[in-house]
Amino acid sequence: MTTLGATAIRAARRFASSLPALFGVLIFTFLLMRVLPGDPAVFFASGPNSGKEEIETIRKQMGLDKPVPQQLFLYLYDVGRGNLGRSLMTGQNVTKDLRERLPASLELTFSALLIALVLAIPLGVLAALKPGSLIDHGVRLFCALGVCVPTFVSGLLLIYIFYYLFGVSPDPTGRVDIFTTLPPAHTGFLLIDFALAGDFDGWWAAFKQLILPACTMALFVIAPLARITRASMLASLGSDFVRTARSVGLSWWRIIVTYALRNAILPVITIAGIVFSTMLGANVLVEKVFSWPGVASYALDALLSSDYAPVQGFVLLMASVFVIVNLVVDVLYGIADPRISIG
């Protein structure tokens, strides 16, 4: 109980201390977007006959006619009220766009992370149990191979093989087969929503859509996870307390799992948190390749067309997710490691 309380206090403190970082991100992005040489008004005034007047209209509409400090002030004011502005690209409120697209990105990233963890932890443990063995080298090679293929290449290859050649995957066009009716949105996570609705066909359809992009992403992050698992497992296995466990005759399973692995998992949690936040921001390419309606591809399109509001909104969202993920990691860590709570 005291541990939990201490963890909560710690998490709250961490959260409070990350607020300046969020604010920094907000300002930095705003300024970065103003530095972009593209003028969104010009880009969006792209009708075959649009002239100066139309450009000016858009500029005014976007508030670009005001001096930058005033723009920043207005922007902060809007953000404070939960208004992230309007995207010229989709014509929608950025908040709405992001809210619609975030679950897609989250679901994809979560699944990828899950796949990666499910593969990486056993691989890392196996490698650590027999360091220097063939298994160890095999794991190392497998992991290294995973990181050395750019995600867009592995994604396109997977599509080519599983969709085009063998036809076992559905067409890579989004989260669910276009002919499947969507379940009522409770969580925005299709797999969960379908399960809640008891629609097995739908669940299966969504699962099939998800598996290729999730694997593409997972492949890229298995390496760091397996590497850290192996390293911390090695440290853990060589530690004094494992020797103690052996000296009192605990069973192999208990030594490996309860003593070694539970200790070794702590750094893995931290790395998994970092991996998750980087993946969420870095899956632009995967989302592009699989036409996945997520936030990252949304931000990319906005960036290329100098559509400020979505990019700013996206960065802020990612930074918040980063903070939340860190918080979750902290809490998990606090629960898993009693030593943290006094620190």
């Binding site: 050395c148 867009f152 980087t278």
Partner: protein, 282 residues
């Protein structure tokens, strides 16, 4: 390097031949990077549209591309640019990160907290998007790709150096240096930094591969180096779009080159980590 270190390296290599292979691969890569332009069979930029999109043959080992350029020659020449991008990007973030991180880790206090905040801001960014935005803002020249890659890498180096220095700041030889008349700054730069370098070199090696991949990703969304300069990322990105038409060699060969390069750096980094890991030394 002292003979004992070499001996130790030899011991590690015996137990871990993959590292040896990776080291050979990396040296080969560096060789190709330096001498590439002199050993290619064709001019990598000269077009020959009549001869476009030819599959691999005896004349063109890796086929030809859309403009009839020899893919093999382009791959070889591209090694130089890719290595240059990766090395300079990683080098910059390493140099800056090591110094800043070491100073913070040693001094603690206000400086540490201020830099910590800055690092937090950077870390909270979706890094790939940050890189994209920077390249988009500064223009897609090689220097800017390098700068963007370096900046998004910087926080990791700062943190790493900070942690490494922090555990050493109270060691006897650090205090001894001060007792021997060195100032704080001199202790950091002349004593602590050289000692954390080996650990950071491992990080660098792993990072080199990542930097190449990152540049390839930028190329894929159109923010890579300028055409017609051969670069693996661009070649892969362009080639990837020919997968569906069966022109496999356009993606396969540059992809293989990129993969092998990244693989070499990663395996080398892994191996170096083993060599430098004190736990494995005794």
């Amino acid at each position: 390097m002292s003979s004992a270190t070499l001996q130790h390296a030899a011991f590690i290599l015996r137990g871990n031949p993959i590292t040896g292979i990776a080291a050979i691969g990396a040296s080969l890569l560096i060789f190709v990077g330096i001498f590439g332009p002199w050993i290619v069979p064709y001019d990598p930029i000269a077009s020959n549209v009549q001869n476009a999109l030819m599959p691999p043959s005896a004349a063109h080992w890796a086929g030809t591309d859309q403009l009839g350029r020899d893919v093999f020659s382009r791959i070889i020449v591209a090694a130089q640019l890719d290595l240059a991008i990766a090395v300079s990007a990683v080098g910059i973030s390493f140099a800056l990160g090591a110094v800043i991180g070491a100073l913070c880790g040693y001094s603690g206090g206000k400086l540490d907290r201020a830099v910590g905040r800055f690092v937090d801001v950077l870390m909270a960014f979706p890094l790939f998007v940050l890189a994209m935005a920077m390249v988009a803002a500064l223009g897609n020249r090689v220097e800017n790709i390098v700068i963007a890659t370096a900046i998004i890498n910087l926080p990791f180096y700062i943190r790493f150096a900070r942690a490494e220095v922090n555990v050493r700041r109270n060691l006897g030889w650090v205090e001894a240096a001060r007792a021997c008349g060195d100032s704080h700054v001199s202790v950091v730069l002349r004593f602590l930094l050289p000692n954390v370098l080996p650990a950071m070199v491992v990080q660098m090696s792993l990072n080199l591969g990542w930097a190449i991949i990152n540049a390839a990703g930028l190329s894929f969304i159109g923010l890579g180096v300028k055409p017609p300069t051969p670069e693996w990322g661009i070649m892969v990105a362009e080639g990837a779009r020919f997968i569906s038409t069966g022109k496999w060699w356009l993606v396969a060969f540059p992809g293989l080159a990129l993969m092998l390069a990244v693989l070499c750096f990663n395996l080398l980094g892994d191996g170096l980590r083993d060599i430098l890991d004190p736990r494995q030394r005794t």
